[in-house]
């Protein structure tokens, strides 16, 4: 482990500025780390040439005292469902295995404009449909916290679908990674990997170039080791984008978090929604939840239990809406303009059928079929429309607690610590998601910002995270509370011997 890996992004870039570090060296080390940790299967594609080129340009800017800002020269990883110009963007699918976009997603473009260095594209569940990073044509990503990385199938899952991004950060390979979050896809793996995972308010960060799963819930997510790093990334990527009509039109005011010691959360009211104390919640997660609630009690204005009565319905409604939008969004993959095309010439219909049959995995196909069923004229009212109504009730729950009682909600992120791969894959994708997304998807249904922060290790030595949610566009409050807790718990994901053990020598 190189000494500089422990630094925050701001510290690294000030080292660049004073010459004690330089972007080329840091990028070299990051590439070396990623090749030593190759067995974890973090990346769908490493981009050493891009990285070295960007690092070289960054180094030049520092030499000429003209850096682009606090991200200049910082290696990052991007989930492989964000379009990157001239870099293959696969969604971990056969359908897009050879798809090379001719444009950058807005998020990527803004990071590159800020001088960030793209180390590679990270692994995910095919098209983001999953919560384990196990359903990828590149194979599953392994959790760096696994007790057993050597034996087949005995490793811990990383969560998902932004699993590759979570491990890229958890191993110290990159300082930050971009994920996407539709029902918890950023927060879930962040929690299992002991890093910070953040889902901004829907509409705060552009989705242009993010290959969609559920347009009405997708948001780009951010994974870092520290809340401060996260704020830097958010400040870079947030704000209106003409290419995404659902972004807020108002300019984004960058967030400046005070030093940990100076954080004042005495006016903040914390809510503990009792519905999140549900079946399947492990004792250890519950313990951590209570512990942090108690910790906050001594500092904030109030900590009280609140009711959000439609929470338990949320996961079902989420599932219906997800499948409906998926069936629609996947309609474009027909092998005509781009992507996989089957060897089939008998008719256009046959070409579609064979292309789609070959290009999608079982999970994707199941969701397409189910979604189309829900959208049939005769079913629309009973499923899609009803789901939208319940979604509104769920949103109302949030609106109500935020308008009346509390500023920030504290909940578990996941029910347990990271499951074993073999246990996880014995369940169907549907059952996996129903458990994994239970605590996280309500925030997507309501559009509110949510963050998971690592709290402690379980008895098995696996990270446990907790989730904070707040009302739309109240990112600053949310991050302040998160940073305060971060300071108190003092979790450091680099204090993990597996980071060294996992390296091939």
């Amino acid at each position: 482990m190189k000494r500089h890996v422990n630094l925050t992004i701001k510290q690294v870039t000030s080292c660049y500025a004073d010459g004690s570090l330089n972007p080329r060296l840091v990028t070299d080390y990051a590439l070396e780390d990623s090749s030593q940790l190759k067995s974890l299967n973090i990346f769908t594609k490493l981009t050493p040439e891009t990285a070295l080129h960007q690092a070289k340009e960054s180094a030049f800017r520092y030499e000429t005292k003209d850096p682009k800002g606090p991200l200049d020269g910082i290696p990052i990883a991007i989930k492989d469902n964000f379009c990157t110009k001239d870099v293959v963007t696969t969604c971990a699918s056969k359908m897009l295995e050879n798809f090379v976009p001719t444009y950058n997603a807005t998020v990527c473009q803004r990071l590159f404009n800020a001088g960030a260095v793209l180390l590679g594209k990270t692994n995910l569940d095919q098209f983001g449909m999953g919560s384990g990073t196990v359903d990828s044509i590149f194979g599953p990503t392994k959790n760096i916290w696994s007790e057993n990385l050597k034996e087949e199938g005995k490793f811990r899952i990383v969560g998902g679908s932004s699993g590759g991004s979570a491990v890229a950060v958890a191993t110290g390979i990159t300082y930050a990674a971009i994920g996407s979050d539709t029902g918890g896809s950023t927060r879930n793996p962040a929690s299992y990997c002991g890093v910070v995972g953040f889902k901004p308010t829907y509409g705060l960060v552009s989705r242009h170039g993010l290959i969609p799963l559920v347009n009405s819930m997708d948001v780009p997510g951010i994974l870092t080791r520290k809340v401060d790093d996260l704020a830097l990334i958010l400040n870079t990527i947030a704000g209106p984008d003409d290419l995404d009509s659902t972004t807020f039109k108002r300019e984004f005011k960058p967030i400046n978090l005070p030093e940990t010691a100076d954080i004042d959360i005495r006016n903040v009211r914390i809510g503990i929604p009792k519905e999140y104390h549900c079946e399947g919640l492990s004792d250890e997660v519950l313990e951590a939840w209570v512990e942090i609630a108690d910790l906050l009690q001594s500092e904030v204005a109030s900590v009280e239990q609140v009711a959000m009565q439609h929470t338990s319905a949320s996961i079902f409604v989420y599932s219906i809406l997800n499948q409906c939008e998926v069936s629609s969004n996947m309609a474009r993959y027909d092998g005509i303009e781009y992507g996989h095309r089957a060897d089939e010439n008998s008719s256009t219909e046959e070409l579609y059928a064979k292309t789609r049959s070959e290009g999608f995995n079982r999970v994707v196909k199941t969701r397409i079929l189910t979604g189309n069923y829900f959208l049939l004229r005769k079913n629309y009212h009973d499923y899609f429309e009803k789901a939208l109504k319940v979604r509104r009730l769920i949103k109302n729950d949030f609106d109500q607690v935020f308008s009346e009682k509390v500023d920030v909600l504290l909940t578990p992120t996941t029910m347990t610590d990271a499951p074993l791969y073999s246990d996880f894959v014995s369940q169907s994708n549907r059952d996996q998601c129903a458990v994994q997304d239970f605590c996280t998807q309500p925030a997507n249904m309501a559009g509110v910002p949510a963050i998971t922060i690592p709290i402690k290790l379980s008895k098995k030595g696996l990270p446990i995270g907790l989730q904070l949610m707040s009302k739309n566009l109240s990112e600053e409050t949310l991050l302040k509370v998160a940073k305060w807790i971060e300071g108190k718990v003092g979790f450091d994901c680099l204090e993990n011997n597996q980071i060294y053990n996992a390296r091939k020598d």
Binding site: F82, C83, T89, C91, L96, F99, P101, T102, Y103, A105, R207, H208, G209, L210, I211, P212, V214, N215, S216, D242, L243, D244, S245, T246, C324, E325, S327, S328, M330, A331, R332, D334, I336, E337, Y338, T348, E349, Y352, N372, L375, L376, R377, Y380, F384
Partner: protein, 506 residues
């Protein structure tokens, strides 16, 4: 008596035993520089696949961005068609698989359209079919915005796709089924095109596919419920609308009269065979699985402009500069120039005729509006039609016509020569009227001696007529005058000829 020059394509249906029910759906391409949801340029004759943005090709990750100009065009059109503009409308996805629909769905407005409850009033006037124009009013149920699809090109072994058209903005207009025959249907579309052109919201060029018409046709016996409908898809010209609808009505009457049943089906119009033909129908039982388009916010229009600012679109501003519509212009022509309604209809139907009419009369207000409309319709339009020339690209200028009228007015040429001059101008429009008349010596013959000489010759040639005249059959004089006129190659000043003949025969 004015001669109406207009081609008549009608094969009029008349049946007292059947009610005929015709409804139209019109797709009008919005005149816009760029597409409805992307920045691609629009141009009709661009090389294949050269006007395709990433979004138009449904490249993953791209999102629709609404072209505000198109919304404004929709609002203007809806307003000119007396619609209620909805303060809130939405976009939906309509799913079906087709090679020229790259995303697998069309973005349209199914559940909440831009505008509803409009109407269009139009004159129905087909010379030779109905003697007098009558006005028909049909309700416009809905005006919605949507994207066009691309085009599939097929040859024997393969299909190719051109996406230049994919994403071009369309207005879909759905009219009530209250038309009765093909003439009414084509008259509605004619008027609609005039309105769209005057608003500048659609070129109306059916030959370029900028305006496409689907017609629903059914028949039923009076007092009985509506019959089964057939839909004639994508009718490509005004003339075809008349023919296709009337053909379909007659076909259905024939089928039903023989005890047959009408099938609910889609048919196409074969303009060569002059028949509607049942299409292999892919769309039967199609379930489009409509879903709200999640990437576009609701479309908000400030319909009540004094309220606090709400939508992006301010109705009051958008409709503040609507031009005069054809109905109003016709009314003005009738009122200000004492033209008949028939004449007003013909003039307003052709933008160029109207422009020339106005220009000629404003340059020389002393001319009689009737003589101006006569030459424009009976000569200019007639000759252009005979020659199959498009008026809009005519090289005959309003100055040419003004000169002819002025020469006639001044007695330098007569009406018949005027027509000859105009014909010659169609072939050599680079010349002035003066040049044409001069080089062909078409000036009117006014010289008294010459006229006397011609009259004497005519009298000598026709002693029989002269005898009749002298017996008191005064009308014969005009036959003799006619001979003089012909001998003079139509150039003789007839007033003088008649006077001279009377003088000589006294």
């Amino acid at each position: 008596m004015i001669r109406i020059i207009s081609r008549n394509f009608s094969t009029k249906v008349k049946s007292k035993q059947w009610n005929t029910v015709v409804g139209l759906e019109v797709h009008a391409q919005i005149q816009s520089n760029t597409k409805l949801f992307s920045g691609s340029q629009i141009s009709f004759s661009a090389p294949l696949n050269s006007r395709v943005s990433l979004f138009d090709a449904a490249i993953p990750g791209t999102l629709p961005v609404l072209n505000e100009r198109c919304v404004e065009a929709g609002i203007k059109t809806a307003s000119a068609l007396n619609c209620t503009i909805n303060s809130l409308s939405m976009f939906d996805r309509k799913h079906y698989f087709y090679a020229d629909l790259p995303s697998g769905y069309q973005i349209t407005q199914q559940r909440a359209a831009l505008a509803n409850n409009g109407s269009i009033a139009f004159p129905v006037f087909t010379p030779g079919v109905n003697k007098k124009p009558y006005t028909k009013e049909v309700k416009l149920q809905q005006l919605q915005l949507e994207q066009d699809s691309g085009k599939s090109l097929h040859d024997e072994t393969r299909s190719l796709v051109d996406l230049n058209r994919a994403g071009i903005p369309l207005m879909e207009l759905v009219f009530d089924h209250t038309l009765e025959d093909g003439d009414e249907a084509s008259s509605l579309v004619k008027e609609l095109i005039l309105i769209l052109k005057s608003l500048g919201t659609c070129s109306g060029k059916m030959e370029e596919g900028a305006l496409r018409v689907d017609a629903n046709v059914s028949i039923n016996r009076p007092g009985e419920p509506l019959g089964t409908r057939t839909e004639i898809k994508n009718i490509g010209s005004i003339r075809s609308i008349t023919q296709a609808v009337n053909y379909e009505i007659n076909r259905q009457i024939e089928v039903k009269s023989e005890g047959g049943e009408i099938t609910n089906e889609t048919r196409s119009w074969d303009a060569t065979l002059k028949k509607t033909i049942a299409m292999r129908d892919k769309e039967i039982q199609q379930d489009y699985r409509f879903m709200p388009e999640p990437n576009l916010p609701m479309l908000l229009v400030d319909t009540n402009s004094d309220e606090k600012v709400r939508g992006n679109f301010k109705l009051k501003r958008i409709i503040s500069d609507l031009p005069k519509l054809p109905a109003e212009i016709r009314k003005e022509l009738v009122e200000n120039f004492a033209l008949t309604e028939e004449i007003a209809i013909i003039i307003v139907n052709e933008a160029l005729l109207l422009a020339y009419f106005r220009k000629i009369l404003s340059t020389n207000p002393k001319l009689s509006p009737k003589s101006v409309s006569n030459i424009l319709i009976n000569d200019f339009l007639k000759i252009a039609n005979e020659r199959n020339e498009n008026l809009d690209s005519s090289r005959i200028s309003s100055e040419h016509i003004l000169d002819i009228l002025t020469y006639i007015e001044e007695g330098k040429i007569n009406l018949q020569i005027g027509q000859i001059v105009l014909r010659k101008l169609f072939d050599s429009s680079e010349k002035s009227c003066f040049e044409i008349i001069d080089e062909s010596s078409l000036w009117q013959i006014d010289d008294d001696e010459e006229i006397e000489k011609m009259c004497k010759e005519a009298i000598e040639k026709d002693p029989k007529a002269v005898a009749q005249y002298k017996k008191g059959k005064k009308k014969v004089l005009f036959a003799i005058a006619g001979n003089v006129f012909n001998t003079s190659n139509q150039k003789a000043n007839m007033r003088k000829v008649v006077k001279k003949l009377e003088e000589l025969l006294e």
